[in-house]
């Protein structure tokens, strides 16, 4: 680079005294000093991801996969020892009860960042059919991927498989990442102040005091600095707490009991039955195994957890089959009813009869119980801090959407960061981060409202409401545009449930 030496001049321009400083030599020195101080500062990063779970790692992978962001230095703070080593999941391992249903939108995201190939090497189960009904026996809905001309409705994958796939994906890149196996204890951000004197050799500490960096203190005593802190540390997010984000939410006074079960035959359909106490879901995970997510009140949940295995299997089958109420009647395609005039453009699944889910033969894992609640951070961003995943929003598991919202956050945030870098922005600036919030917050809130609505609608056993719900089932089953809309929304292809022209 050519630098022209500028001499010292004193110029009088129409009464204004202007002094031109000699910049050349001092700037050149400063530049080399700055460069040097940077190579010595090992604890300074562009992005610090607090929480190395599925969503945090998905963000890191996404940044690693894009040309505009792959040069960023990322610190991942998580005390989980599994992060440091390469994980080998043996094929013979029984399925872990913690699974997630990933939507087609999430599968596309994983393919984009290059992580899906690793998921495919382990147990995973695509499903193309879904049946939803309730205990009243008044109605049912079957969804089929062919209704929207797709092959699959989603894929059920164990969380440990998703996590290790993301880790493998990251390890195979030249991405500069450092894992800090510790917990975040405190975080400090200072607003930038213009009264601080210019330091010729800015160290991380000076930059921090100037508000250019955030400082993170960890439980093992180390400290690090970052331009942007990403809170991906789950529902009880420490980052959210330290940054002072307020939350709205309530507990559902329900617990979910999860376990893995085995059948005698393969299962390619997702089943969900709404009972008086809460929904029970049976999701295929491959190799004749399925995952059970059963929501009920806390007392029943602890009873279920403690009872012996055979009794538990009995009540499971009871709940999926004839328990609590009759089977809904299938409406054969020949009969005439009030929906027959909708059926001109009928979906494939409208003709399908009600089926009973496959019998559970035995329990294949321990039973785990989790409390359910809804929580939403009122803001996702502030200067140098952004929340993604469960740290920003926690939802009811009834539609398997939770982690998909988190992956959506990770995908959007990494894209926004790339757009910021393309125009030379400071990635911790609020104006840039607000773009992420503007995109994700409405979508997340709508999804939460929909799920919350379902949860409330199905928790009341009241005659007229039961009939309304039955009508809703029938409507979803036979009104094809409505069903297609529901499938698109749940698959992540559509951001909002209704085709609203705003917020595009």
């Amino acid at each position: 680079m050519n630098r022209i030496i500028v001499g010292r001049l004193s110029v009088n321009v129409s009464g204004l005294r202007v002094l031109q400083r000699s910049f050349c030599s001092s700037v050149a020195e400063k530049e080399s000093e700055v460069k040097q101080s940077f190579t010595n500062n090992d604890d300074q990063y562009d992005v610090a991801v607090v929480g190395g779970g599925m969503v945090g790692m998905a963000l890191a992978c996404s940044l690693a996969s894009m040309p505009l962001t792959k040069h960023l230095s990322v610190a991942i703070i998580d005390s989980n020892p599994a992060l440091g080593k390469s994980n080998f999941i043996k094929k013979e391992d029984p399925p872990d009860p913690r699974v997630s249903t990933v939507t087609p939108a999430t599968i596309s995201f994983f393919k984009e960042i290059g992580a899906w190939q690793y998921v495919q090497q382990h147990r995973h189960a695509y499903f193309d059919k879904m049946q939803v009904w309730d205990y009243t026996g008044l109605g049912y809905t079957t969804y089929n991927a062919r209704d929207v001309n797709k092959e699959i409705l989603g894929c059920v994958v164990e969380n440990k498989v998703l996590h290790s796939s993301l880790l493998s994906c990251m390890q195979n890149t030249e991405f500069q990442k450092t894992i800090y196996p510790s917990r975040l204890t405190s975080m400090a951000l200072l607003p930038s102040s213009s009264s601080i004197s210019v330091d010729s050799t800015p160290s991380a500490t000076t930059l921090f005091t100037k508000g250019h960096l955030a400082k993170l203190d960890l439980s093992d005593g180390t400290s690090l600095y970052a331009k942007l802190v990403v809170g991906a540390d789950g529902g009880k997010s420490r980052v959210r707490e330290l940054a002072g984000f307020k939350t709205t939410g309530w507990s559902y006074s329900q617990n979910a009991i999860i376990c893995t079960v085995e059948h005698n035959k393969e299962n390619y359909c997702a089943w969900q039955r709404f009972l008086t106490t809460g929904p029970i879901a049976l999701l295929p995970i491959g190799d004749n195994f399925s995952n059970i997510v059963w929501t009920m009140n806390p007392k029943d949940a602890s009873d279920c957890k403690s009872m012996n295995e055979d009794d538990f299997v009995k009540i499971l089958n009871h709940a999926l089959d004839y328990g609590y109420g009759p089977h809904p009647k299938s409406i054969s395609s020949g009969s005439v009813d009030m929906f027959s005039w909708f059926r001109g453009d009928a979906t494939l699944s409208a003709k399908e009869c009600f089926e009973v889910p496959p019998r559970v033969v035995k329990l294949a894992s321990e039973r785990m119980v989790f409390p359910l609640s809804l929580k939403h951070a009122n803001n996702y961003v502030s200067k140098r801090v952004v929340l993604i995943g469960d740290a920003a929003h926690t939802v009811h598991p009834l539609a398997g959407q939770g982690v998909n919202l988190g992956f959506g956050d990770a995908s959007t945030l990494s894209r926004i960061i790339a757009e910021g870098i393309a125009v030379g922005a400071d990635i911790g600036e609020v104006s840039l981060l607000k773009k992420y919030e503007a995109e994700r917050k409405p979508a997340n809130i709508v999804m939460m409202a929909v799920l919350d609505g379902f949860q409330k609608a199905y928790s009341v056993d009241f005659g007229p409401l039961n009939i309304l719900r039955a009508a809703a089932f029938h409507g979803a089953q036979y009104i094809s545009p409505l069903k297609r809309n529901i499938i698109s929304y749940a698959s992540g292809e559509q951001r909002l449930p209704l085709p609203l022209p705003l917020f595009t």
Partner: protein, 308 residues
């Protein structure tokens, strides 16, 4: 220059604003993404002779620089608020990513740089004329350029210097309190000269453009952004922005100082700069964001190259 095709807006009533790009067929061009399309607007009738006489009247014979002193005082008064993204400079902060997108696109194409690189301007010397607090200079430095920012208001330079020192990537920016004419006298040359939202505050746009051209190396780039002197611009940039919405302090802009795209192209042509591309900035009140568009009726930006 003879091969260039210049299409001038026809001055008719209620006509749709015709979309045009100034393009050199020898360079590979991609259309600039336009997200907003203006459906109906009134284009003012253009009387080039009248405009030329106005330009001549604005020429100050005594002052060597093209600055207007009342303008300087105006900016000096609010200098502390440059980096307050919610303050009087909020519209400029909001506009910044959009104008940077145009600059990045045109400069990467012109200098054959990798558009997917995080620092595409590595190795380029860029001068930001009328840099103010450095809102444009800092992102350019982050994109790898060697940036010199100049402004005639000393307070602005002080603020710019302090803010740039907060980030190691921007602390290499050279800020000088000077004018384009002074830099020309020092015989400085730059690969790209950018004067964004400046020319409407300058007393003699033609002389200013000559200075900008003198600062540009041969085959270098010159980028100028400003506001069109159209009825629509009066309604939006002056009435709406200054008087109704209070985005800008009253008196920030004088409609008579605005230049139409044709005038800008002509005065740049006389300064040996060929305008190759032009785009408009459009504001969407629902999303609160600016985007690049073909609509140059209010805000527009022009990219030109210096003839050798």
């Amino acid at each position: 220059m003879a091969a260039r095709h210049l299409r001038i807006l026809s001055g008719c009533n209620g006509a749709l604003l015709s979309v045009r790009f100034f393009s050199d067929s020898t360079l590979a061009q991609e259309p600039i993404a336009s997200t907003a399309i203006d459906s109906a607007s009134v284009s003012p009738s253009i009387n080039t002779a009248e405009n030329h006489s106005q330009l001549n009247n604005n020429k100050k014979h005594s002052a060597p620089s093209s600055l207007k002193h009342a303008e300087l005082a105006k900016f000096s008064a609010i200098a502390d608020t440059w980096w307050d993204a919610e303050g009087p400079y909020k519209p400029l902060h909001a506009l910044n990513p959009t104008r940077l997108a145009f600059i990045r696109s045109t400069l990467c194409r012109h200098f054959r740089k990798d558009p997917y690189s995080a620092r595409p301007f590595e190795g380029l010397n860029i001068v930001d004329v009328g840099c103010g607090g450095g809102i444009l200079s800092e992102p350019l430095a982050r994109m790898g350029a060697t940036v010199t920012g100049i402004d005639a208001v000393e307070k602005n330079i002080k603020i710019a210097r302090l803010h740039a020192d907060l980030d190691p990537e921007t602390s290499t920016i050279e800020y000088c309190c000077t004018t384009a004419e002074k830099l020309v006298e020092e015989q400085r040359k730059f690969d790209a000269v950018i004067a964004s939202e400046v020319i409407e505050h300058v007393a003699d746009p033609a002389e200013f453009c000559k200075s900008l051209s003198a600062l540009t190396v041969s085959e270098g780039a010159t980028v100028i952004s400003t506001i069109n002197r159209s009825v629509r611009a009066y309604a939006t940039a002056i009435i709406a922005a200054e008087h109704i919405l209070h985005w800008l302090p009253k008196g920030t802009h004088q409609w008579s100082s605005f230049l139409t795209p044709e005038e800008l192209v002509l005065i740049l042509q006389r300064a040996s700069i060929d305008v190759k591309e032009m785009a408009g900035f459009v504001y969407n009140p629902l999303t609160g964001r600016w985007s690049l568009s073909d609509d140059i009726s209010v805000n527009f930006i022009a990219f030109g190259t210096k003839n050798s």
